[in-house]
């Protein structure tokens, strides 16, 4: 453990009855980085974050934040980190200003200081026009921003963000990303969880992939994506086309195994570079395999999972809609 370590955890464990929600996770977050924890719903991301934030007792293993032991000194830990959960944890019956003032007062600010801090944060987060509106009138994005603002009142050096953009529209999502980058520019360390590979890609310096309570991979976003190919060529074979022949062509041309969707004409081909798509298409044309449609997509979390764990995220329906939400790149 070095002086520049923000979060250090070894063998972190949490069980609920027979179920091991977190099953021996090691974590090492460096000061000043954005560290992403990537995984599907139920992988144990939130549980892990809650243990590190003293919100759940640690059942096994050890964790420290800036060298302070989480289990032994919870009150000190709470002074070192700000937590923004999946669901806005602000008071619905109070206005934005009142919320921030209350949280400031609770953390020992004098009334005038708490008011000044509230004003500064509302301005910084573009909420000053809504300062005196009840939270019930806030949009989802505004709530998230207020929630994040509430975590920053005492300027903690470490920020936990639990799925900061789940449920936000793309524009608000981009704003949230910029805000998170701004935190790090100020000297904060950020530990965030996400279900979106592109979010980890956009924000995180390093990423841990969590599945069923275990860490299955860790690295930079680029390293992760390389492990599944940078992009995916999605093909729909024409009716009557020979799937097996098409698969052989792919193996021969790019040396990789295509993913066939049983019972349908879809075939996904992982690619190291998008221009590999052209080689596959030429190969198929020469072999006489007819194709109905072609697209090149960025890898999805599902594909990362499949590549890393050999099973999918177990969220077929949700994964489907996510694939459709993904920006599909034109073949260049």
């Amino acid at each position: 453990m070095t002086p520049t370590t923000a979060v250090h955890a070894t063998g972190l464990m949490k069980t609920f009855g027979d179920f091991r929600a977190v099953d021996g996770i090691d974590l090492d977050v460096q000061q000043g980085e954005i560290f992403g924890v990537l995984g599907p719903n139920g992988a144990g991301k939130t549980t892990m974050l809650k243990m590190l934030a003293t919100l759940l007792p640690i059942d096994g293993g050890r964790a420290s934040v800036f060298g302070v032991d989480v289990a032994r000194e919870p009150h000190r830990i709470r002074q070192l980190l700000g937590v923004t959960g999946q669901y806005a944890s602000v008071d619905e019956d109070l206005t934005a200003t009142e919320n921030l003032w209350l949280f400031g007062r609770l953390q020992g600010l004098r009334s005038a200081d708490a008011r000044a801090t509230a004003r500064r944060l509302l301005e910084q987060f573009g909420l000053q026009e809504a300062a005196n509106k009840p939270i019930a009138q806030f949009s989802g994005g505004m709530r998230r921003r207020l929630d994040l603002a509430a975590s920053l009142i005492t300027r903690p050096p470490l920020i936990f963000l639990d799925e900061p953009t789940t449920g936000l529209d793309p524009r608000t999502r981009g704003q949230m990303w910029d805000t998170i980058r701004g935190l790090v520019a100020d000297g904060c360390t950020v530990l965030l969880t996400t279900q979106y590979l592109d979010e980890a890609d956009q924000l995180a310096d390093r990423v841990s992939v969590i599945d069923r309570g275990r860490k299955v991979a860790q690295g930079t976003p680029d390293e992760l994506k390389t492990s599944v190919g940078n992009s995916t060529l999605q093909l729909r074979l024409a009716a009557g086309a020979d799937q097996e022949l098409a698969a052989q062509v792919v193996r021969r041309v790019v040396g990789l195994e295509p993913v066939l969707t049983p019972g349908s004409a879809y075939m996904n081909v992982p690619l190291d570079a998008a221009d590999g798509a052209a080689d596959v298409l030429i190969g198929l044309r020469q072999a006489g395999v007819r194709i109905d449609s072609v697209s090149v997509a960025q890898p999805t979390l599902d594909e990362v999972f499949l590549a890393l764990t050999g099973h999918d995220t177990g969220e077929a329906e949700q994964a489907d809609t996510e694939i459709n939400d993904r920006p599909v790149l034109e073949v260049r």
């Binding site: 923000a6 000061q31 934030a53 003293t54 919100l55 759940l56 007792p57 800036f66 060298g67 302070v68 009150h75 000190r76 709470r78 002074q79 070192l80 937590v83 959960g85 669901y87 806005a88 944890s89 602000v90 008071d91 619905e92 019956d93 109070l94 009142e98 209350l102 949280f103 007062r105 609770l106 953390q107 020992g108 500064r120 910084q124 987060f125 573009g126 909420l127 026009e129 809504a130 949009s139 994005g141 505004m142 921003r145 509430a150 300027r155 903690p156 050096p157 470490l158 529209d169 704003q175 910029d178 805000t179 998170i180 980058r181 701004g182 520019a185 100020d186 000297g187 904060c188 360390t189």
Partner: protein
């Protein structure tokens, strides 16, 4: 959707000093000081008072119940129990005060349970504040409700002809005792609030406790009219002590042994149920 834009990078003017982990670690203290605890509890009380003002229907029970029950009980039972309404009032008013204050305690527990289900409690848990502050704050705010309930009961009694023999000081003493006892008893219901699965369950438990406690006491009837077995229970029921103490104060201006017993019982209740509440609140995390 708002049209507000967000500038993530604070402008040079607003730029605060960079975050320093080393200084933050050095600053972080191991526990809250008593002064901090008081400040935090008062901040939580401020929040509860704000919410009361925004949801005035929360005051229905402490306003209508004393007014309605005082008049109703006086005219229904007065003749049967004491011969006439006037003679019944000194017996009944302290009983209604005790009953109203206890009912008010119940809503303390119910509201805490509702509150704990809200997202803001997640933040309270993550903040470096004393674990008891989110529980104690609303209870401090509820002192206002006990004050309203006790004052309205005495006020309504006086309107229909109650003339407390203890004078102004006696009545003030009775009100103060009722408020303190109510506050102490509220810890029981706060504990219910932290163990129950839902606000409705809290209400269920509370009713089960409240009805026997208030009706199996000397609140509304002279004890000598009860069968012996019941009389024993009434004698040890803390509500009876509260009612007797309130009568001594309001009707005779006397600080009797009953006042002492009531205060002792209140302190015992706090000593048992405050730690229980904090413990189960923490386990809820």
């Amino acid at each position: 959707m708002s049209t507000l834009t967000l500038d993530p990078r604070p402008t040079a003017r607003a730029a605060p000093p960079a975050v320093d982990p080393g200084a933050a670690v050095a600053r972080a203290r191991a526990r809250t000081t008593p002064a901090e605890l008081i400040g935090q509890t008062l901040s939580m009380a401020w929040r509860a008072l704000k919410k009361m003002r925004r949801n005035p229907e929360q005051f229905f029970d402490v306003t209508f119940q004393p007014l309605l029950f005082t008049a109703m009980f006086a005219y229904i039972f007065g003749g049967a129990i004491s011969g006439n309404v006037q003679r019944y009032l000194p017996l009944m008013i302290p009983g209604i005060v005790a009953q109203t204050v206890l009912t008010t305690c119940m809503s303390t527990g119910v509201q805490l349970r509702e509150d704990m289900e809200k997202g803001v409690f997640d933040r309270f848990k993550a903040l470096p504040i004393a674990r008891i502050a989110p529980l104690a704050g609303p209870m401090v705010a509820d002192l206002v409700r006990y004050l309203i309930a006790a004052s309205l009961t005495f006020g309504m009694g006086i309107i229909i002809g109650y003339r407390p023999g203890g004078g102004v000081l006696g009545v003030l003493g009775a009100v103060a005792l009722a408020i303190f006892t109510g506050w102490a008893m509220a810890w029981i219901f706060t504990w219910f609030g932290t163990i129950a699965r839902s606000a409705r369950a809290v209400q269920g438990y509370s009713m089960m406790v409240l009805f026997p406690l208030t009706f199996l006491s000397n609140a509304f009837v002279p004890v000598r009219t009860l069968p012996p077995a019941l009389r024993t229970f009434v004698a040890i029921n803390p509500v009876s002590h509260l009612v007797s103490a309130t009568r001594d104060l309001a009707n005779h201006g006397v600080i009797s042994g009953q006042v002492g017993w009531t205060l002792l019982a209140a302190l015992v209740v706090i000593a048992i149920f405050a730690p229980l509440s904090v413990r189960s609140y923490q386990r809820h995390l």
